[in-house]
């Protein structure tokens, strides 16, 4: 694998680290199985692409994309909390609706951003091509910042209330926490991160496409699960770190699998590889525990 393709894998991995952090909030912390991601990721991309194509500041575009994502997450939570629609179903409804909304926003199935200023433009040299290095570097700063901000939030009173809401809602209510409000806020935060990832994604890819959201949730979940097998969940900052590392490792493994000619895998095998990787990540901890038990039995 060449250095360029390694950096390319890191770049996508960093973008999906943001998705994975969002998925961590909904699936793990709030205990809310949320598939909105497949709609909120392209929503962020669509909003950012339209704004950038319209000549607006790319950072402003990222911010508005995140707000749009927050609205989508809030809507999913609202359907569940206020109208009592099953969590999974509520998120599927919003995801489906977003497909039409994204088409409306974009006005066409795709928008090209080639040659337009992005958040990376100020750092990219016009003389020699250093985008392959600069884009992952800028993304790394954004991801680290997002991780640290999330860590600080989850250690705060409101953040702790959000975690209690997912872990034990009855106890949370007995402590005076409005679990409804916490679910709405947490889902908004989760999908804001995912939409921000979508906004950054279109800027690295040079354009937005209506189908770019397909499988977002699976990749995010894969990163979370791989992360859980990497590091012990002793404290929350370790969990968020593991999630980021999980996203990076996932993309590296995919790149390796696709680059290894002797296996004979091609780009269209991506979803199959994803399924195999997630399956392995789910089974490995159990095998590890079984082996440990056997060893324990022998020494005892």
């Amino acid at each position: 694998m060449s250095l360029i393709s390694l950096m390319g894998a890191l770049e996508i991995g960093l973008i999906f680290a943001l998705v994975a952090l969002g998925v961590l909030i909904s699936f793990r912390l709030l205990n809310f199985p949320d598939l909105t991601a497949d709609g909120s990721f392209p929503l962020g991309g669509a909003v950012a692409a339209v704004l950038i194509a319209g000549g607006h500041d790319p950072w402003l575009a990222c911010g508005l994309a995140a707000i749009a994502g927050a609205a989508a997450g809030w809507l999913t939570a609202w359907l569940n909390v206020r109208l009592g629609i099953l969590q999974l179903l509520a998120s599927i409804l919003v995801m489906i609706a977003l497909y039409s909304i994204n088409l409306r926003i974009m006005g066409a199935p795709n928008i090209a951003l080639i040659g337009l200023p992005t958040v990376f433009t100020p750092f990219v040299s016009t003389v020699n091509d250093n985008a392959w290095l600069i884009q992952p570097a800028v993304l790394a700063v954004i991801v680290v910042l997002a991780k640290l901000l999330l860590d600080a939030f989850f250690a705060s009173e409101a953040g702790l209330a959000l975690r209690a809401t997912g872990a034990n809602p009855r106890m949370a209510r007995a402590q005076g926490i409005s679990t409804d409000r916490m679910t709405l806020a947490g889902m908004a935060l989760s999908n804001a991160l995912i939409a921000l990832a979508g906004a950054l994604y279109v800027q690295t890819q040079g354009g937005a496409d209506i189908s770019m959201g397909i499988g977002t949730i699976v990749v995010g979940l894969a990163a979370v699960i791989i992360g859980e097998t990497l590091l012990p969940p002793r404290s929350l900052w370790l969990v968020t770190l593991a999630t980021v590392l999980g996203a990076l490792l996932y993309r590296l493994l995919i790149a390796l699998a696709l680059n290894a000619d002797f296996i004979g895998l091609q780009a269209q095998d991506l979803n199959l590889i994803t399924a195999v990787l997630v399956g392995l990540a789910l089974v490995l901890p159990k095998i590890k525990a079984k082996l440990r038990n056997k060893q324990g039995g022998r020494t005892a």
């Binding site: 409101a158 034990n168 402590q175 679990t179």
Partner: protein
């Protein structure tokens, strides 16, 4: 002070499973009073407690805590007035959070939650001092996950959490029923201490007539969703379990056949 006026609650109304649980329950508890509640299965004890805490909403009747009408308030809205300890030791705490994080959650009960640090340094000192009074060695394990603790330890911490913030009413829902006899005795002793030290108004549901008479100032028996027996003071202190049974049979005109109540 807590006042329940003519509470009615029917589960699954209009279906073959229709179950009228509360049928005009009225009870007034004065400030500083520790009331024990007994009753056979289905008498409405848990439903009554859940109605007070706001987990369920009564069909009719009203509830006042400290003069405030809380009948239509949700559980989280009245959490500033009501503290509670659940029957299930796993229910009152978050096992995925650390001991200090659980205590910090209880520290803000009924208050707004902002973006300042949840576990403050000043809190830690308080938590250590309070945990030391349990004599379980938990004061050195603030960072440990709650899930590592035994049921009895978790119930003890739940009690501590319920007393971190002042409350107008402490609800104890058979909080020793899931514990072994020795641990149950320890948690009950701790309950007596915390209630008297903080001069709490408390309502303890129990399955055991022995416990009901040995703890608190007043004993109330529920039957078919109503208060059928209410003893306190001199009369209560002279009573033993057989007397309570006799009184129950006299009031209801029927024989009690709930083994759990007799054996407890």
């Amino acid at each position: 002070m807590m006042r329940a006026d003519n509470l009615f609650k029917t589960f699954n109304p209009g279906t073959p499973l229709e179950n009228p649980v509360l049928r005009g329950l009225s009870l007034t508890i004065e400030s500083g009073q520790f009331v024990t509640v007994i009753g056979s299965n289905g008498a409405g004890k848990s439903t009554f407690l859940n109605a007070i805490s706001g987990d369920i909403s009564p069909d009719s009747g009203s509830l006042f805590i400290d003069g405030q009408d809380v009948t239509r308030q949700t559980a989280w809205q009245r959490a500033g007035l009501v503290a509670r300890v659940f029957q299930d030791p796993l229910a009152g705490t978050c096992e995925g959070l650390s001991i200090e994080e659980n205590l910090a959650l209880a520290m803000q009960r009924g208050q707004g939650r902002g973006l300042s640090r949840a576990v403050k340094a000043s809190y830690r000192e308080q938590f250590r001092a309070k945990l030391a009074t349990l004599q379980l060695g938990l004061e050195n394990r603030l960072g440990d996950r709650m899930g590592l603790l035994s049921g009895g330890q978790r119930q003890a911490v739940s009690l501590l959490m319920a007393s971190l913030q002042p409350s107008r009413l402490l609800l104890l829902d058979e909080h020793t029923a899931a514990l072994d006899p020795k641990t149950a005795a320890f948690v009950l002793q701790l309950t007596d201490r915390i209630v008297s030290e903080n001069q709490l108004t408390a309502l303890m549901v129990t399955h055991s007539m022995r416990q009901a008479l040995d703890h608190g100032h007043r004993t109330v028996m529920l039957h078919q969703g109503r208060v059928v027996l209410d003893v306190s003071g001199e009369e209560r202190s002279r009573m033993d379990v057989p007397d309570l049974l006799a009184m129950f049979e006299q009031t209801r005109g029927e024989k009690l056949d709930d083994d759990a109540l007799l054996l407890g």
